[in-house]
Symmetry: C2
Subunit: 213 residues, 2 copies
């Protein structure tokens, strides 16, 4: 099996949000798709280890929020590489409650979905949600997963369906953010970056970078 074939599947970049006993929670999701048009339903795949998974299962509701190319990459760092069990992701994320769900201000549009079915797999649950509300908040080109990887140099959480373990290169040292997986590739040598430099993806300080390879 050629694992690189999977890189040819196309996805968007979404935040899946939910309520945890009145507290807003959420995580990054790539695997989301419309399944029917009338009534409109959306399927989203969430890893069972994600706290958001538990909250969607418990409450029966989730929102899918579409991120655009102009989104602040920190939003992906916050929602994609930390857990709502330990972090209040919404503390540093401006949001409002729309159609009864927490919707981050930075997203293009959102879908509020009621869980009507679910399918279990080895690691993920595919939740099928009937769309109760859908609104557009701003005009921006939807970010694709390919754009995220190529332009933002973003990495993939080990909990994502699309995770593939990267092979280490044999060339010189590489510096990778331990929180979000962002790999530094600037022109200035990493060691020469100022001490207040932060990861452009998740905002973590230079000290959170690990030298590998």
């Amino acid at each position: 099996m050629n694992r690189t074939a999977f890189f040819n599947l196309s996805y968007g970049v979404y935040l899946c949000t939910a309520w945890d006993e009145g507290r807003p929670v959420g995580c990054v999701a790539n695997s989301a798709m419309q399944v029917t048009s009338d009534p409109a339903t959306i399927a989203v795949s969430l890893n069972r280890v994600n706290h958001t998974h538990k909250c969607v299962a418990d409450t029966g509701y989730f929102a899918v929020c579409v991120l655009g190319e102009k989104v602040d990459p920190k939003l992906i760092g916050t929602f994609g590489f930390r857990t709502s069990r330990e972090t209040d992701k919404f503390e540093e994320t401006p949001y409002s409650v729309r159609d009864r769900m927490p919707i981050p201000d930075g997203c293009i549009c959102y879908f509020v979905c009621k869980v009507v079915d679910r399918m279990e797999t080895s690691s993920h649950t595919v939740f099928l949600g009937e769309v109760q509300a859908a609104e557009v908040l701003r005009s921006d080109r939807p970010m694709t997963y390919a754009y995220y990887h190529k332009v933002l140099k973003g990495k993939t959480s080990v909990n994502a369906p699309t995770f593939v373990e990267e092979k280490k290169t044999e060339s010189g040292a590489r510096y990778v953010c331990k929180v979000c997986g962002y790999e530094y590739d600037g022109e200035i040598p990493f060691e020469d970056l100022p001490e207040d430099w932060v990861c452009p993806l998740c905002g973590m300080p230079k000290s959170e970078f690990e030298k590998i390879g």
Copy 2:
């Protein structure tokens, strides 16, 4: 509900193929996504009215073939807007049998999947397939659904999850292919096109175009 919000979900453009008692069949699918990475599974949503749906359900196997931007658009016309009940779509499509499944030559890569679960919705079945084989056949940028609409001016089959009825414009006459929905927008007036001109998307003759609006 703002239905235009759905246009912000990102998809690829795929052919889903299967066997119909030894005869290769297939249809266009946009709603396909990886669900787990180990073992690798892919979920694909197929309308129950599609003949390919019946064949996947009967045989328990399907292949997802990724189309690239350089693909011959006729492939989309053939597989997206006709039915395998009445047409042998593979008659005019060069293909080979790989890992026991019919794989059109024009695709970038393919995944051969064994159905391990299914979820029923009002109109579509979400088939969960465990990937048995995955190979890359050529290097080309995977076509996104957005590219298909913007660059190829492609339309959506009424059987697709992503179908939204279009509103007619109030401007002058428009010429739309009755087979694939392609709307002519060339600089030469449609009436002045030569009689042997064919639809660039599905290859139907000029006589299959309908004047609307």
